[in-house]
């Protein structure tokens, strides 16, 4: 059974698609020369940035598949984590709309091609949940089963919602029972992860046109999401300037990375990272955006809590970050850094990095520029 790639363009690589449909290997240079398809790719990115689902009605499968892949290349080149996630989100949303309309067979097919181990149970599961006042039996029916490994992999951002937690599911023989609408919802997450994975996997070839196009895309990103590259990597902007990720102590870095991945954090973890970053002077806005990745994110509550920690609400008391001992007793310490407070680690690391940088600067210019 074939998958409609115009709906799910991430399920085929550009090369495979070109070979299968046009019998030739893709020539990226000439594709990038094709104004109309490049424009389409940029439009696709623009939609995502503006928070709209790209509307591809009336376009050919070729247009849709190729423009998607060119958009991915451009975004990879731009190298903004925010844009990657934004694009993946809205493209997944677009495909999700189609997925919801598929019949059971093609729904299952799309998910299988996406790498999800999904099946129909040998016998449909019907759970008798109760009776109406008139004595009629009421059943809940489950049409599909999905291997539990895939289930926990793709539902991690939903765990904040009780009904998605494994403990509240019907599980048997290694499979989780799931309803059709839930399966489609899970599919959307699979798509998101797949598209994000493409950014990690693809390798860029140096093409001049790509560079200039990427510059154009960069202009489209709203100011506040532009990541400044501080000491050679991703840095965060805060009130007092930058938070340098490389200098974060191992304990905070772990939480930070888990957050970017969309892991569900414990209460203590949230407290630890929020108070730590607040102590470095980041603003509420920045923290809210970081927490946005969490599965149970709720903007209003998050904002309130952060302002509370920052001492802008309630008693006006500002909460200070845990010291190493408190981190340890909560199981959050992951190394022996020889310091008493994670902040100490950060600042001494920062000094080290600065020194290294200065040293680089004062060294003779590289042979290339000297000629």
């Amino acid at each position: 059974m074939k998958v409609d790639f115009s709906r799910y363009p991430f399920l085929v690589s550009l090369n495979d698609y070109m070979v299968a449909v046009h019998k030739y290997i893709v020539d990226l240079d000439s594709l990038l020369e094709n104004k109309s398809i490049v424009n389409l790719a940029v439009k696709r990115i623009e939609s995502a940035i503006k928070g709209r689902i790209f509307d591809g009605r009336g376009l050919s499968t070729d247009d849709l598949v190729i423009s998607f892949h060119i958009a991915v290349l451009l975004i990879k080149k731009v190298n903004s984590r925010w844009l990657q996630s934004r694009f993946a989100n809205f493209e997944a949303e677009r495909s999700y709309r189609f997925l919801q309309e598929e019949d059971q067979r093609s729904l299952m097919n799309v998910l299988r091609v996406s790498g999800v181990n999904v099946d129909k149970p040998r016998k449909e599961l019907r759970i008798l949940v109760g009776y109406t006042k008139g004595g009629r039996e009421v059943y809940d029916a489950y049409d599909f089963i999905i291997a539990f490994q895939g289930y926990v992999r793709y539902t991690r951002r939903f765990w904040g919602e009780g009904k998605w937690k494994l403990v509240n599911r019907l599980v048997s023989g290694g499979f989780v029972y799931i309803r059709q609408d839930e399966l489609a919802r899970l599919g959307k997450e699979v798509f998101y992860v797949k598209i994000m994975g493409m950014f990690d996997e693809i390798e860029l070839v140096p093409i001049q046109t790509l560079e200039s196009l990427a510059d154009k895309v960069k202009q489209l990103i709203p100011e506040k999401y532009v990541e400044t590259s501080g000491l050679g990597g991703l840095s965060l902007t805060g009130k007092t300037g930058k938070v340098v990720v490389e200098a974060l102590p191992p304990c905070i870095k772990r939480i930070y990375n888990a957050m970017l991945k969309g892991d569900n954090l414990s209460h203590h973890e949230r407290f630890a990272i929020a108070t730590f970053l607040l102590a470095l002077g980041v603003d509420t806005e920045y923290l809210v955006n970081l927490f946005r990745n969490l599965p149970d994110f709720n903007e209003k509550i998050t904002r309130y809590q952060i302002e509370h920690l920052a001492g802008k609400r309630g008693s006006g008391r500002k909460y200070s970050p845990y010291n190493c001992e408190s981190m340890r007793s909560r199981g959050l310490c992951v190394a022996e850094c020889g310091v008493k407070h994670p902040l100490t680690y950060y600042f001494s690391e920062l000094r080290k990095l600065k020194k290294e940088k200065d040293r680089e600067k004062t060294q003779p210019a590289s042979s290339e520029t000297r000629r």
């Binding site: 109406t132 926990v152 937690k165 494994l166 509240n168 019907l170």
Partner: protein, 356 residues
């Protein structure tokens, strides 16, 4: 012993054990891809990042170092002796559940301080707790088999406070920490929402779950049936179910330590090795869930040991309550003698008659 006066007397006993049983250490087939780690007596930190090419090499090493505790990693690495995680190349980890018997609700009233009126403080548990813990371990194994379709599950006595359930199925190896937490939560009932699994809807008279249903619905129904029968209460099953739901849930929960399960770089005590916290042997449990288990079964020591207790105490060991007075020299059986010595409850007087 006098020659090694700088050595801890416990090292001598450890040496005695490994000289005879050092070949009995049970290693996984892929032990060359595991990191080994050891804790030595009177040393806080671990020796880590060690690899062995053969069992003989391991035995030789152990006979030289006489370790307090011996471990291999639950994780499989490309380069197990590399010093950092990054360089090691993590390529999967077995799943581990940890059941500490003294933390179980059913065992709460069965822990005790062996020292009477003394500043020497220590918490031990009565041997009944082992049965309670083992039953939990079997329950976990059962659920992992039935609900998750897993097949290669071992139950190990940790040598001290409880049981480890080790799941070796290959298709679990790559689960990430947070995904493993979902499994632990499933076993423990953490985050269980009764209003989700037994929905109450408007205009609906809720039906209680049936024992053959999957997931927590079935688990609750089975436990309810069991408790209803056991307590022989005259109320109807249905009434019993609704009015005891919380208690039923508690019984049906496993109570494993989730922190252990989510750790994908955990150390596993080597079966057949001695646990330096107790002088007992880490071992795979072959007994069934309803059989009696006692601490002395896990001691390899016979013969006698002369010891001097450090407090007036009562210790439950080998099915008996053993009473000792402070500072009197006793000649006791090897198994309990070593236990008291390793627990720090007694000093050693003479170990020449100890046999393995």
């Amino acid at each position: 012993m006098s020659r090694h006066s700088s050595r801890d007397p416990r090292e001598f006993i450890v040496g005695k054990y490994y000289k005879i049983k050092g070949g009995d250490l049970v290693l996984p087939d892929d032990f060359r891809s595991r990191e080994f780690a050891f804790q030595l007596f009177n040393m806080k930190s671990y020796m880590r990042h060690i690899v062995f090419e053969s069992k003989e090499e391991l035995k030789r090493w152990i006979l030289v170092k006489l370790p307090h505790s011996a471990f291999y990693s639950s994780a499989i690495y490309e380069i197990p002796d590399a010093p950092t995680m990054k360089e090691k190349g993590w390529s999967g980890a077995e799943l581990q559940l940890d059941i500490d018997v003294d933390h179980l609700i059913e065992c709460k009233d069965k822990t005790y301080n062996p020292c009477k009126n003394s500043s020497v403080g220590l918490e031990l548990f009565r041997e009944e707790c082992l049965e309670i813990g083992l039953a939990k371990a079997y329950e976990a194994k059962n659920i992992l088999e039935k609900d998750f379709g897993l097949k290669y599950i071992e139950i190990h006595f940790s040598g001290n406070r409880g049981f480890h359930v080790l799941v070796k199925d290959r298709d679990l190896l790559l689960l990430e920490g947070e995904e493993r937490r979902e499994l632990a939560d499933y076993l423990n009932g953490t985050g269980l929402a009764l209003n989700i699994i037994i929905p109450k809807r408007r205009g609906l008279i809720s039906q209680i779950p049936q024992p053959e249903e999957p997931g927590w619905r079935g688990r609750l129904a089975r436990w309810a049936l069991y408790l209803h029968r056991k307590e022989a209460i005259s109320v109807s099953f249905e009434e019993f179910f609704w009015s005891n739901l919380e208690r039923i849930t508690q019984h049906a929960s496993i109570e494993t330590d989730a922190q252990v399960t989510i750790d994908t770089t955990r150390l596993v005590r080597i079966p057949g090795s001695i646990n330096g916290k107790s002088g007992l042997i880490v071992s795979e449990v072959k007994k069934g869930p309803d059989e009696e288990v006692r601490l002395d079964e896990f001691s390899p020591f016979k013969g006698t040991l002369k010891i001097k207790p450090l407090c007036n105490m009562e210790v439950y060991f080998g099915g008996n309550k053993n009473v000792f007075s402070k500072n009197i020299t006793y000649k006791v059986e090897g198994n309990i003698g070593v236990f008291l010595l390793f627990k720090g409850l007694a000093g050693l007087v003479y170990s020449g008659d100890l046999i393995v």
